[in-house]
Symmetry: C2
């Protein structure tokens, strides 16, 4: 229980009356019941999770809820991106309503970003908004998707096209649950950790260069990396809750990354999101260097660090049939971040110095991609 | 075009940066393009409407949009409450996405409350929130559903259980389009107009007693009745956007009303919403009088006025098989407004003096209903 009174780290997301805490540390799952009761009171809960996470971590959560005398129903969904569908959303919403949960009751997401996005969106729309608690279990979810209130599902027309902004009341990031995460998923989440260094905190990136192995191993370095990441995201979210400006910096590596994911058919065997972001960040740095905006040496440092973390950094690293410039351009053109024929990219002046470039010419992007593919 | 520069009436909904105007007057439909362009700029539009309204009013709207050089796609749905479903929501969302509308583009609802609720919810969730314009064409929608930002659909577990708060950027209430509304629908909407008098504005109710026929006929009296109603709702919404307190007053007549609608199987041939509310308001006044809270004479005035407007005021007025106290109690118990076994009702101390009673005993409600049924 001590874990909630004195978590190893805590980050406040400053959003006025929608503000909330992210508690970070090893063993927090066992304190989840107490933490929820302390903040939300004697609410009824619907725990949403996926089969993988349920098999390993659900019993501990249910035990913790029972210890705090909190009633919960459990909704277990198949793992994977395909779960972020209208069909599964309906199933969750129906079960929450069948259990007769009210507005003040809470949906709890126990899982990675897929579960967090889906369960959060369900919480946003049941009775026009129920309380919501995030217990992220993947590194990506702990440092990224659980913070900031973006929730949603995929449409057959694209990823994350249907959703809502709905802030959680509490985020509990138990760093120990990451020990059971597949290595590839851990590395993928690490790409987002590195992103916070690259977009605005050169010291943090340098610290990661020194401490990467320790972060992967667990313990204090992991907690620190997660806390710094959450703090960075929280600050950006607080400045721009509804993503109209500064929040765009979080898309460093993501315009290229999304295009790569689409070109790979969103096939997780070929590429998972964090891997796509790793390649995207490497590309963004090389593109910026090529435009004379950033030192070439920085692009090389980025590539070296990501490779050391087991991440891909070039388009040709994607297994399976070769990805072509044409296809990437098509996806880049379809991205939400297009306005009046010019492209918006996050470019950089060097490590820790990313910026929003609203006026990138499609021709320059294409030449760059062709050169990359020939490299 | 003059209609938008000098509408007959305008009401501001004061919600800070989410604030917006309701323009009210005869002929506004023809000025819709100019009004939208003035406030939202050169946006692209998706007009959502139903078959009935499309047949009569869609051409005029499209003409007005074209005159203002605004591009629009049109989505025509079947009329009726059944359209507020996840299936139709998906269809609207898909078509909006297929047309590649962006966040700053707008969904336009042209229709009654069904279309407004559905289209507004679609606008709330496409790309986590697009702009939204209401062009309400039923009296109910002009005085009630288009104001306040409640959007949503029905679940098989109940009405309006899935939704969001999403404020429109503009509401255009063309009072002349109500001329084509079926008489029964006009009367049903009028129940909500009378509600604003009953819940907090005795002078307005007295004015309605004098001017009912003129309101039904159209012209200045109708515009005034709509403007006063919108102003009343806007004030309540501004004080309590997310329905945590004062906004509950708007539920005058609705706890009984919803139970009646459910008992009548949501069959519009037996009872439409406004009729249920009319009976509910009559019941709320008689219940309050019976509890010694309000003068019996006020209950009689309410009944007389609603009857003169062609509205039902007693449970036995509902055609079809008799509705029983048991069934009503079951639905009342399932209503969202139940907490810890006590019932929340809007009761009244007399015309214009409604209040939220959070602690009504189910036993008293049942005795009252039994007496009503024996009456
Ligand atoms: N809302 C946001 O702001 C935001 C930001 C970034 C990404 N996302 C979304 O997040 C999703 C990706 O999240 P993700 O990478 O966590 O994917 P995920 O939820 O699919 O989890 C990855 C895999 O790891 C498994 N897993 C999770 N935790 C585990 C644990 N502790 N032990 C063992 N296995 C575990 C899952 O079952 C799954 O198979 C995408 O849908 C993306 O769109 C959202
Ligand atoms: N969002 C809110 O705050 C709120 C408040 C009250 C009611 N509602 C919802 O509103 C809905 C009821 O709205 P409604 O009464 O407008 O129902 P509706 O939308 O079904 O319209 C009633 C009928 O009138 C027709 N119609 C509408 N305008 C017309 C016109 N000008 N000429 C001819 N026919 C016309 C429609 O086609 C329909 O057949 C319900 O679903 C209710 O839940 C929402
Ligand atoms: Zn990402
Ligand atoms: Zn109503």
């Amino acid at each position: 229980m001590n874990a909630i009174d004195r978590p190893e780290a805590a980050v406040r997301v400053e959003l006025g009356e929608r503000g909330y805490d992210i508690l970070i540390g090893s063993g927090l799952l066992a304190a989840a019941g107490a933490a929820i009761r302390e903040r939300l009171g004697a609410v009824r809960l619907a725990v949403v999770t996926d089969e993988n996470v349920a098999a390993i971590h659900l019993p501990a959560l249910l035990l913790a809820l029972r210890a705090a005398d909190l009633d919960a129903i459990t909704i277990v969904l198949p793992p994977g991106e395909a779960t972020k569908s209208l069909e599964h959303l309906e199933a969750v919403v129906d079960q929450v309503l069948e259990a007769r949960l009210e507005r003040g009751d809470a949906v709890v997401a126990l899982g990675g970003g897929v579960i967090g996005d889906l369960a959060g969106f369900a919480a946003a729309i049941v009775r026009r908004g129920m309380s919501f608690v995030q217990i992220p279990t993947s590194l990506l979810a702990q440092v990224d998707s659980s913070v900031g209130g973006k929730t949603g599902i995929n449409s057959r027309l694209g990823k994350n096209l249907i959703g809502a902004f709905h802030q959680p009341a509490l985020v509990l990031a138990d760093t120990a649950v990451l020990d059971t995460l597949p290595a590839r998923e851990f590395a993928a989440g690490y790409a987002e950790v590195a992103k916070y260094g690259l977009l605005g905190d050169a010291d943090f990136f340098a610290w990661l260069e020194e401490n990467r192995a320790a972060v992967f191993a667990g313990g204090a370095a992991r907690t620190r990396a997660i806390a710094v990441s959450c703090r960075a995201k929280a600050a950006i979210v607080a400045a721009d809750e509804r993503e109209q400006g500064e929040r765009a910096l979080l898309n460093l590596g993501h315009t290229f990354g999304h295009a790569l994911e689409a070109a790979a058919g969103f096939d997780a065997r070929r590429l998972v999101h964090g891997e796509a972001v790793a390649i995207g960040m490497a590309l963004a740095h090389r593109f910026s260097a090529g435009l004379g905006l950033a030192p070439g040496a920085d692009a090389e440092r980025v590539e070296r660090h990501l490779r050391a973390a087991g991440l891909p950094t070039a388009i040709s690293d994607v297994p399976g049939s070769a990805i072509e410039a044409d296809e990437l351009m098509r996806h880049i053109g379809q991205d939400k971040k297009v306005r009046q024929g010019r492209l918006t990219f996050i470019l950089t002046r060097g490590i820790g110095r990313a910026f929003v470039a609203g006026d990138v010419s499609p021709g320059e992007v294409r030449s760059f991609l062709e050169a990359e593919l020939a490299r």
